[in-house]
Symmetry: C2
Subunit: 332 residues, 2 copies
């Protein structure tokens, strides 16, 4: 029997295990033009929380009692589609099922010799693409500038910081444990780190680690950390809104300080970013990221959870900050 | 004797007449290399409120007990500077004095045949330049899009709306009286208007006047009107922060709803604008504005207050919305 994970309830606040349901179904078979896929690595991402709400957004909400989906690396088990053959690895937006069939649309082949399979869910997948393309389109980093990154030990944040260093910036990261700060500095080459959980005055901490102010703030979290960054933003500063994980589980609208005065006086630019809007730039971006990876200018970390049955818990753990870098689930 | 207006107190909240002081001084005389100027039209602008605070900003604060300054059109009464001759008209950042001398730096000659003298403080001055350059740099208006403008009957707002119509947009303006809405629609060609003083639910009023949502919101006011606009912003919407008059007189930091979620989901761009950063583009912008003016594609309104002694009151009246279009003071 084939296992699948359905959305049972739309979470209220923080997602719970009881919001997910495991079901069994007959083993699928590939028909003409189809491939049969076995899931190997499943990506769990904060943005999936948004799809669990029944509201209009940039991507359709998940339906109740239907399988969830995310980016998955899968192996072709058998093929009746001439573009794929048994033993190929592919990635694409696939269902949370052990086995599934696909007509091949939206599947991209993966080259295991260039990078590990899970890298295609992270540094060479949407997270790496997000970091690279958003910095390119909005950040406009210049040598010598100061780049501040929140969620800095995460998959996107750690890549953003490394690209900042490649571009010759001072890079300061914000994360939630001293262990994560250590990782940022030792592994990813950040210049300084701030532990937001043990810091009382974030604005002051940013001021002291960014003595020349903040030229670009890369925001993965929103909320009070964004406020503190705005208090330190330079003239012509840029803020990239890539996520707001601090707000995703809030059930009531949140309030915060008004920034209008800062926007005008400092001529700040703030811009939201969704990697899906930039599919045309994926090719050259992956090329550049692969080059940096092979030149050892770029590295990544991932938290690999094992077992299909642990996908929901791995997703929930994202909101506890239990991952270091990209969170993936390995399926045997 | 020559009259001047000094900043006596830094205003707390709304500026008062008692914050200003009139003084008399000897009539100035032009020395070698100088011109003697007689003020003809004095511009009063909301941004001057910011210079009355003793805080670091994009422009130095006014000093206590020294003359205030703003953009002024003046007549050359006598000249010992070969670039200017008696009878020339010039404009530039000048002191609030009846007469003053200048070494000519920062003075621009004004052609009375091309437009009226006061136009050089408005449609062909910083307000027209602000509207034109900010829309060009940030707005990126496309034919058929919806442009929402606050402070819409004001000097910048009414020019923004007209440029929106020239570009083929649906243009909706927000202002504080039915008389102003009438002016916007009849004189400036706005498609629709919203009276924010008589409207309870601004978000709903915007939704009904902008049935296709808001593609560009041109914000001169900040605060709750910005909130209502953000609730109606479209995917890839742009917000130009050109001013925040609703907050200028606040003595405490203000709070409001958090927009992070909207920024990410709608990939909104919000950007502050200061015309002083774009001096290089003034030439071509004035050329385009003059062309539209002479083709009758652009018009303007101004509120002309008469008499040097009324400059402080005219400035104070800006915050009561007593002006329609550019507020200038005519000096005899």
């Amino acid at each position: 029997m084939n296992q699948a994970i359905l959305l049972k309830n739309r979470p209220e606040g923080k997602p719970q295990l009881s919001d997910f349901e495991f079901t069994k179904e007959d083993q699928p078979e590939d028909q003409d033009g189809e491939v049969l896929l076995k899931s190997k690595y499943v990506s769990v991402d904060p943005y999936l929380r948004g799809r669990m709400r029944d509201v209009e957004s940039y991507i359709d909400p998940f339906k109740l009692n239907e399988p969830l989906e995310s980016n998955i690396v899968a192996e072709v088990i058998s093929s009746k589609n001439s573009n794929f053959k048994e033993g190929d690895f592919v990635h694409g937006m696939l269902k949370w099922k052990e086995y599934q069939t696909s007509d091949g649309k939206g599947l991209n082949k993966v080259d295991e010799d260039k990078a590990s399979l899970s890298a295609y869910l992270g540094i060479l997948g949407l997270t790496g693409l997000t970091a690279y393309i958003s910095l390119d389109k909005i950040g406009d980093l210049k040598k010598g500038e100061t780049l501040l990154v929140s969620g800095a030990s995460g998959a996107v944040g750690s890549t953003v910081g490394q690209i900042g260093k490649i571009k010759g910036c001072r890079v300061v990261g914000i994360a939630g444990s001293d262990e994560k700060l250590e990782l940022m500095k030792e592994k990813f080459g950040f210049d300084e780190g701030i532990n937001y959980k043990s810091t009382e005055d974030m604005a002051e901490a940013i001021a002291s680690t960014c003595p020349n102010g903040v030229d670009v703030y890369y925001d993965n979290v929103g909320g009070e950390i964004l406020d503190a960054a705005m208090n330190n933003i330079n003239k012509d500063g840029r803020v990239i809104n890539c996520g707001a994980i601090s707000l995703y589980n809030e059930t009531e609208p949140q309030t915060g300080p008004r920034y209008e005065g800062i926007f005008v006086k400092k001529t700040v630019k703030m811009q939201g970013f969704l990697v899906r809007d930039h599919v045309k730039e994926f090719g050259p971006a992956i090329q550049q990221l692969t080059k940096w990876l092979n030149e050892d200018k770029l590295t990544y970390s991932e938290t690999v959870v094992e077992g299909f049955e642990n996908i929901p818990q791995a997703f929930i753990d994202l909101f506890e900050g239990k991952n270091k870098g990209k969170m993936v689930v390995k399926i045997y």
